[in-house]
């Protein structure tokens, strides 16, 4: 059974059709890259996977069950901007996943873990920071980091919550090419090492083909102004990368 | 220096409403034309502000009480003459207690009043009448505009104030008037004063004022339809109606006839009152910083006698223009 299955999904805003009859099955541990022209509905699709938007018609299932009606710790997200919290240090940002996610009654009241749980969480957070190369910057604030460092932090923060699915919306779009190459290496490593299924939107085809196990292209069948938004985007291409990348077999690193 | 344009400031109070009416009814213009001058009659909402404006030279004439004329313009070095004694308060100012009906009950209470005003003076006189002193009560300064609503609050148990607020408060069955100005007749006078220097240079201005005043008073005290209409207009202008206004008039000893007013100005009572007033002001520090005694400011009386420093006379009672009016010499 696939982890995510999308069936006959439509999304309309008022009378403008954005997505039209999307059908998609995503296997566990897949790394799907979503590409397509600007405005074709990639972000909208991701928002529905995140339960930030509700489909107009159709079904999205996670693990065979309809996805929850609101965002939750089962699905993590990294945006192009605004993914990290400016008022928390780097360590604080990563710890936040435990502070918010832990389930003790005190934690639920104060949004903070204490004592041994905190020490354990701090240790795990430091490991994650080391993995993304931010060990030395644990006490800095995000505004003191470069764009690339902020995106690494966002990754670490999302991973700390151990989501089953990681959704990424052009996470590296604002980075300089050199920094981007570095972070691709990191991304590949993380995907191999952790139990992750990823869906990433990108504008950059080399990035899509360099990272993903599968590249999906959205496209509007007809896109003339005279259409007046009567046609939405569909899946135009669905390309499996060859030779297949297999999670946990880091040949390509 | 002689001049043509004069300004008089007046505030809403039963004894001063004739000025507003005289302006609306054209009486001011009539007399000003007669003397070939212009008189601008300006209503000021805030009584204290009108005194300040007069003191710094913004006005040539002012409606004011005898006590405030001494404490602000005279102490501020502005030589001031009372050309008209319009009335004295004869019940218009009162000490009111809540749920108590004896003045002696005031002991130990908080008393809400406009601090350093004639209400304060009335309180001092009331306390003296039963051998208490100011330290036996606690004074809370309260704006006159809010006295009526202040009375409705539970923690206000005694107030000293003037009309129309007195009648407003006395409408409450819990309110008891325990002392009023009719028990100190003649001590709270409502004057129209003129800057002495202006007066010397322009006696015509004071003549016009007297002319306006007594013509208006004759009209408003007359028991004729015109008199009633005048009273109704004045009532309306002060925010009440005919009945309300006539009730206030009843608590005021209006000198409708100039001869009466002139006689009162010449009477020894004025001197006795002013002595009490200046001592009250002196003990409250209102005769100037570090004033050594109540004698620092001289007060000249209509009979030529001077209270206090003869070299520093700043407040004068004169009967000249009231007498002229009585003699029909205007």
């Amino acid at each position: 059974m696939s982890l995510i299955s999308v069936r006959h999904l439509w999304k309309e805003y008022d009378d403008k059709v954005v997505l039209e009859d999307i059908n998609l099955e995503i296997e566990e541990r897949a790394f799907v890259a979503l590409v397509g022209p600007s405005g074709c509905g990639k972000t909208t699709f991701l928002k529905m996977l995140l339960s930030e938007e509700i489909p107009t018609r159709g079904i999205i299932e996670l693990d065979g069950k309809p996805i929850p009606k609101e965002p939750g710790p089962d699905r993590g997200v990294v945006y192009q901007r605004y993914s990290v919290f400016p008022h928390l240090t780097v360590l604080g940002n990563v710890l936040l996943a435990k502070d918010l996610g832990a389930r003790g009654p005190g934690t639920r009241l104060l949004g903070r873990v204490f004592g041994a749980a905190r020490r354990a969480a701090t240790e795990k957070a430091r490991e994650l920071l080391a993995a993304v190369g931010l060990a030395h910057a644990a006490d800095k604030y995000p505004s003191q980091l470069s764009g690339g460092m902020q995106q690494r932090l966002a990754l670490a923060q999302a991973l700390m919550a151990e989501p089953r699915v990681l959704l990424l919306d052009e996470p590296f779009g604002a980075l300089d090419p050199g920094i981007r190459a570095d972070i691709h290496v990191l991304m590949r490593k993380l995907w191999h090492e952790r139990a992750l299924t990823a869906v990433m939107v990108t504008h950059d085809l080399p990035e899509a083909f360099g990272l993903a196990t599968r590249v999906i292209a959205f496209e509007r069948r007809r896109d003339e102004p005279s259409d007046g938004g009567r046609y939405g985007a569909r899946i135009a291409k669905d390309i499996g990368i060859w030779p297949p990348r297999v999670a946990g077999a880091p040949k390509a690193v | 220096a002689p001049k043509k344009d004069f300004k008089l400031a007046w505030t809403i109070y039963v004894g001063w409403m004739p000025w507003g009416y005289a302006k609306d009814a054209g009486i001011v213009k009539k007399w000003a034309d007669k003397y070939g001058i212009n008189i601008d009659v300006v209503q000021v909402n805030d009584y204290a502000e009108s005194i300040n404006q007069y003191t710094v030279g913004g006005f040539d004439a002012l409606t004011v009480t005898n006590m405030d004329a001494l404490s602000t313009p005279a102490v501020g070095g502005v030589d001031t003459s009372a050309v008209i004694i319009g009335d004295f308060s004869n019940g218009n100012d009162a000490v009111i207690l809540k749920d108590k009906d004896k003045l002696a009950d005031i002991k130990g209470q908080k008393v809400n009043l406009v601090e350093f005003s004639v209400s304060h003076y009335l309180l001092a006189r009331a306390l003296a009448s039963i051998s208490l002193a100011e330290k036996d009560v606690k004074v809370v300064s309260t704006s006159d505009a809010d006295m009526a609503s202040a009375w409705k609050t539970p923690d206000v148990t005694s107030v000293v104030t003037w009309n129309p607020i007195v009648s407003e408060i006395l409408a409450d069955p819990k309110a008891h008037k325990v002392f009023d100005s009719s028990q100190i007749p003649g001590e709270i006078m409502d004057l129209t004063v003129v800057n002495t220097q202006t007066l010397k240079d322009n006696p015509a201005f004071a003549k016009a004022l007297a002319g306006i005043w007594y013509e208006t008073l004759a009209l408003m005290t007359a028991d004729t339809p015109a008199g009633k209409a005048a009273r109704e207009a004045m009532g309306k202008a002060s925010g009440t109606d005919l009945a309300g206004f006539e009730a206030q008039m009843a608590a005021t000893k209006l000198f409708a006839k100039p001869a009466e007013a002139a006689a009162f100005a010449r009477s020894p009572e004025v001197g006795a009152t002013m002595d009490k007033v200046r001592n009250f002001l002196f003990t409250h520090g209102l005769l100037g910083n570090g004033a050594p005694s109540a004698d620092v400011v001289g007060i000249a009386l209509a009979d030529g006698k001077v209270l206090g420093d003869k070299a520093n006379v700043k407040f004068r009672f004169i009967d000249t223009y009231m007498s002229d009016a009585a003699a029909g010499k205007l």
Binding site: F85, L96, A97 | A48, V75, G76, S143, A145
Partner: protein, 273 residues
């Protein structure tokens, strides 16, 4: 060089900054001297000597009637009311503002209402305030709080809705409940902005305080100013006004310093956006 490109040297800049203050003093001295030449007892623009006497009397001499030093007892009374009023308004502003900003239902319920209420002139409803709160301290504090709280609520709610929506989603993907979202994400980011908003309300707060003290009081800076206004004692009013200005200015500076100290991340995050 274009005027927009001309920079004063640092030392010179400090001299320039002093100039207008000196100019005001000199203007005062001239005007005062002219009036005093006319009338030595003039009360409107007293000489510095007279003002000095008044300061000694008000700030350094025990008043025999009350047994206190007027300026200090007035200051203590006023500051107590001011801080209480500002504190209550800040609390209400933060709690309701965040709640309205965060909860769509509450926003639908109270958004418009608060906008309308913030336009009611508080001075005009004083009588109602007196009746419900009495004439004592409570009504003065309430006037400040009522005058300021609606504006703070609106401001804070606006700033919450201005936060990037991504942060709300992100926090939920980390497991936040509505409550912990507010506690750990919204509140700490709103606090420094709250300081900005409160700072803007210091002026209005003093205004309401002075108005309330003018109406019914036994002490306080506003009480004193309106009391001595009855006999035009500008020698007392002017130092009191200067003192209030100084206090307000110090409060403003203190809030700026507090913001910088307590929220070191804020300045950088603001300019980074």
């Amino acid at each position: 060089m274009r005027l927009v490109n001309r920079l004063p040297a640092p030392g010179w800049a400090r001299v320039l900054a002093l100039l207008p203050f000196v100019a005001v003093l000199v203007l005062y001295l001239i005007a005062s001297a002219m009036r005093l030449a006319d009338n030595p007892a003039d009360k409107l623009l007293p000489s510095f000597a007279t003002i000095g006497d008044a300061i000694v009397r008000m700030a350094f001499t025990v008043d025999i009637r009350t047994g206190t030093i007027p300026l200090w007892s007035d200051t203590i009374a006023s500051l107590g009311r001011l801080f209480a009023g500002l504190g209550i308004a800040t609390l209400i502003g933060a709690v309701l503002g965040i709640a309205i900003g965060v909860l769509p239902y509450l926003r639908a319920l109270l958004g418009q209402f608060v906008a309308v209420v913030s336009m009611v002139p508080p001075l005009a409803i004083l009588p109602i305030l007196f009746i419900t709160m009495g004439l004592g301290e409570a009504s003065k504090i309430a006037l400040i709080a009522i005058g300021i709280a609606p504006l703070l609520i609106r401001d804070i709610a606006l700033r919450v809705t201005d936060m990037p929506p991504q942060q709300f989603v992100k926090a939920q993907t980390l497991g936040a409940s509505s409550w912990t979202l507010v506690l750990r994400v919204v509140l700490p980011q709103i606090l420094p902005r709250l300081i900005d908003s409160v700072r803007l309300q210091i002026g209005p707060a003093w205004l309401f305080l002075i108005s309330a003290e003018a109406i019914a009081s036994e002490s306080g800076l506003g009480y004193r100013i309106f009391l001595v206004r009855r006999y035009l004692a500008m020698d007392v009013i002017l130092p009191y006004v200067a003192w209030i200005t100084l206090l307000a200015f110090v409060m403003e500076i203190a809030l700026v310093a507090l913001q910088r100290r307590a929220f070191p991340w804020f300045a950088a995050a603001r300019t980074a956006q």
